[in-house]
Symmetry: C2
């Protein structure tokens, strides 16, 4: 129940972006999320590395996946795990190839993320999109990698359902020139007065700098979350702001 040196080397290499891009795959860890990936069945699983107990408990899902299985001891799994808590399973999963579908986006509420850098924030934003049934999240080129381990972990499985990939803002606009773009800024109209109506794109800016001047110049609506009386903070966390604007857009 040991991994070969080559297996170990290969699995460890996938902790780095370079090799995830080279092999076009990514790592999913943790019993719950691994079971969810196998049950969903929409992403190709390249291999399952797990302790025998987990394989027994999930034998039907494992069989259904048709993926090669490496049973390993827990100590062996620890060598390749990025989780701090004891882990039972690690999947290598092929990266999904999402493609822009004009007819879907032009009838939906979608998100455009301008230079989000923190993987926890991107994962949390994908989880928000997943909760509200938002199917498309576009990231500006150079944003944090959408399938890095920390994003995958924070997304709580949202990467199975939310289509997230890099797309230049101008290219997105060129596909859908008439679609309103609501940008989150600090000096816009209240989201409660000027709430984003579907279909539209909501643009969220970088954690410290907000939306770039270039994207700001192309917005159709500038919107803000009103600060409370006596409020002292300079801004809200990017994922929290995204959650608030999505909740208001979908519910009021």
């Amino acid at each position: 129940m040991k991994l070969s040196i080559n297996q170990l080397k290969y699995l460890k290499s996938l902790h780095g972006r370079k090799y995830r891009q080279k092999y076009h795959n990514f790592i999913v860890e943790g019993t719950k999320m691994a079971a969810e990936v196998l049950a969903a069945g929409n992403l190709e699983v390249e291999s399952i590395v797990a302790v025998p107990d987990w394989l027994d408990a999930n034998s039907r899902l494992v069989e259904k996946s048709n993926a090669p299985v490496s049973p390993v001891a827990e100590g062996e799994l620890k060598k390749i795990s990025l989780l701090s808590t004891p882990n039972q399973v690690l999947l290598v999963v092929k990266q999904p190839d999402w493609h822009f579908e004009k007819n879907e986006v032009e009838t939906s509420l979608s998100l455009y993320l301008d230079d989000i850098r923190d993987p926890g924030n991107l994962g949390t934003i994908l989880r928000i999109a997943d909760w509200f049934g938002i199917g498309w999240v576009f990231c500006s080129p150079g944003s944090v990698e959408a399938l890095s381990p920390k994003v995958v972990q924070a997304s709580m499985g949202a990467f199975l359902r939310v289509k997230c990939f890099e797309l230049d803002f101008d290219e997105l606009k060129s596909h859908l020139p008439g679609l309103p773009v609501y940008g989150m800024v600090l000096d816009g109209a209240s989201i409660f007065d000027e709430k984003p109506n579907t279909p539209a794109i909501i643009a969220i800016g970088n954690e410290s700098r907000g939306l770039s001047a270039e994207i700001q110049s192309k917005l159709t609506h500038r919107i803000s979350i009103p600060k409370g009386i006596g409020g002292g903070a300079e801004s809200l966390n990017a994922a929290v702001a995204t959650g608030i604007v999505c909740a208001v857009a979908m519910n009021t």
Copy 2:
């Protein structure tokens, strides 16, 4: 411009909860937050450890604080910093002694956090409270420490303005038996239909288990953030959920 061995030892000890509690202080790092603490002037600063450039640029604030100053080289500061990016200043700050003020809480919207464990979440929740002008955040005994370095960092200075401390739920209720308590649960009424009116307490549960059965039995209102059509996520992040309910309570 070196710290003595005893200074180094003392400052490093404050990375641990045990010594922060013993000395009743905590650490604030980073140029912006340090300047904010000195400018606010409401917390006692025990010492300032900073590079000469930072001390020069902030000489008025430093003087006003009357705190002992240790000028150090950047390499020396690195030895005691928990930040990953180059740091210029570290403050040792006395912990504030907030006390429950019935007349304030009984006219306000306040938060009760039941067993929040992730420091990033608590810091983000304090930042949310700060943004919306919510002055009181109570934490159940055993929650993550409100002045741990990661909470302080994520709060973006909110610890200067938001009164946050441990308080047993029953004790809070005993002070204000008539105050409505809105609890965030997965099967409650929509926050848009049954929005929390000031004065009230909004209770938020633990990241994985939600509100404890005991606190749930004492709620006056059970509320939820409505899931979108086709939404797949099982839940929202605790800080995101807090942001959404606060935004709706304060604005609609």
